[in-house]
């Protein structure tokens, strides 16, 4: 299982890649493994500004539905357009092709509340 060190992580199993006041968000390799085959990603929040831990969408596996939570506060700038027709990208490449949203941080200091790779890895029992 993969826990890239350049990313930050949440207890809800999202990852964030921060670049200045812009960040890319997805769900972790651990999360996709737990969910199993992802068949639908439902994100209708483009243009919305959401607070940390607010729901920005849902991800559905064959048997389950899970909410997606904002790792940090921000405005949703863009949704990965590939996920509509290729939701399996999240299973195949959770940190790459399976990215979910691009956000503009509204409170960058919140990044400091997130876990580093080692802490997150330990929290998953790995």
């Amino acid at each position: 299982m993969n826990f890239p060190s350049e990313l930050k992580y949440t207890k809800d199993h999202e990852w964030v890649k921060v670049d200045g006041d812009i960040a890319i968000v997805g769900i972790t390799d651990f999360a996709q493994g737990e969910l199993g085959d992802i068949v639908f990603v439902d994100i209708n929040s483009v243009g919305n500004t959401l607070s940390q831990e607010e729901v920005f969408g849902t991800v559905e596996a064959v048997k389950t539905v899970s909410d997606l939570f904002m790792p940090v506060s921000g405005e949703i700038l863009e949704v990965n357009p590939e996920l509509d027709s290729n939701p399996e990208y999240i299973n195949e490449d959770a940190y790459g092709k399976g990215w979910m949203v691009k956000i503009k941080l509204t409170n960058p200091s919140e990044v400091n509340t997130l876990m580093d790779a080692e802490t997150y890895k330990t929290s998953t029992g790995n």
């Binding site: 199993g36 209708n44 559905e60 048997k63």
Partner: protein, 362 residues
């Protein structure tokens, strides 16, 4: 809620060693999936898969009063059964709903095997005993038997390599008692996948021998061990009801499209109620639907009409791995239940368009 500890089926360790993700289900630790649900699903549709469904309950009903008891507690007509034949049926309760759905196996005129849902073993046992005014003798053998469902278009050819019994001579919904993999068992041409195949009832002590023999001979057929996850998606594609989802203590078999297992030519628990529904019409009925707009229906989502009025409830739904589209079943107000009708599934407060279609979906 019961707080009793989870039970393990006989092959619990075996499933863990095969990489199964074990989950609590109906009081048992059960394999949900091994590697990949969709792969397991398609393997059953195209080749063959083996499910350990040893959590299922089994009762023996014996004696002179056995048939009278079964005629009274089940909705189907047990007198139509012959030795070696099986009937799908349900246990009506006294409030207009269903205690459970089940299979009734006739071993002889005075001995029957009932196969019930794991989640309802205790409830069924108490209910049937409470109705036993006929002197039948009952035995709960659920904890002694393992059950393997070997399902898929290649199941018969594969299993034939392990038995002298001519499997092609066992018609659908029939069974025989014989040896397979060197073990005495009930070989039953049934299943919950609509993919064809057999269900094998084996003493727990012989379960590992049977399972390993099947996995070994199954290699050349690309067999996969399959979990409850794909069992659910497979049954949904065929529109088979799942107790607790599509039927329950409050649904009539007439509303559920189970009129074909409800025979009014004999007396049974609460017959008049269901006969009245049949004669005078139901107010809601179970329908199948497929999504037109994007979204996946799930158990307990509301069904709306075009104006947003609540007209029903989703009972089962999934993304169908075989059809690659979202399908569901649910109870809909009879006025909206015509084939081809547009309905809306309320998914996270969005009304997503769907269309009523015929069951089975596949």
């Amino acid at each position: 809620m019961t707080t009793s500890a989870l039970k393990n089926i006989a092959l619990n360790e075996k499933h863990i060693s095969l990489g199964a993700k074990m989950v609590p289900f109906a009081g048992y630790n059960m394999p949900l999936q091994y590697s990949n649900l969709i792969q397991e699903h398609l393997c059953v549709r195209n080749n063959v898969g083996i499910f350990d469904v040893s959590h299922m309950g089994e009762f023996i009903v014996k004696g002179e009063g056995a048939i009278d008891l079964l005629q009274w507690v089940t909705s189907n007509d047990v007198s139509k059964l012959e030795d070696g034949k099986i009937q799908y049926s349900c246990l009506p309760n006294s409030q207009g709903g269903i205690v459970d759905d089940l299979l009734v196996y006739r071993k002889s005129e005075t001995e029957y095997l009932l196969v019930v849902n794991a989640s309802n073993i205790d409830k069924d046992w108490e209910w049937i005993n409470s109705q036993n005014k006929f002197g039948a003798s009952l035995e709960n053998i659920s904890d002694t038997l393992s059950l393997f469902a070997v399902q898929g278009p290649k199941a018969t050819e594969m299993l034939q390599k392990l038995t002298e019994v001519n499997l092609n001579s066992i018609p659908y919904y029939s069974f025989t008692e014989g040896k397979l993999a060197g073990v005495d068992m009930i070989i039953s041409n049934t299943g919950y996948t609509g993919a064809g195949g057999f269900e094998l009832y084996v003493e727990n002590s012989k379960a590992i021998q049977v399972f390993e023999s099947i996995m070994e001979v199954g290699k050349e057929f690309d067999i996969l061990p399959c979990g409850l996850g794909c069992r659910d998606t497979l049954r949904m594609e065929k529109g088979f009801c799942l107790y607790g989802n599509d039927i329950n203590d409050n649904t009539s078999p007439i509303e559920a499209g189970l009129g074909w297992i409800t025979k009014f030519t004999k007396d049974f628990v609460n017959k008049e109620y269901h006969l009245n529904l049949k004669n005078n019409g139901v107010t809601k009925k179970l329908v199948g639907f497929e999504m037109i707009e994007r979204g996946i229906p799930r158990h307990d989502y509301e069904i709306n009409d075009e104006n947003g009025n609540n007209i029903g409830l989703v009972t089962s739904g999934t993304q169908s791995p075989s059809l690659q589209k979202a399908i569901g079943m649910g109870y809909v107000d009879i006025k909206h239940s015509d084939m081809g009708n547009t309905i809306y599934i309320n998914i996270r407060n969005n009304r997503i368009k769907a269309k009523i279609v015929k069951i089975p979906f596949l």
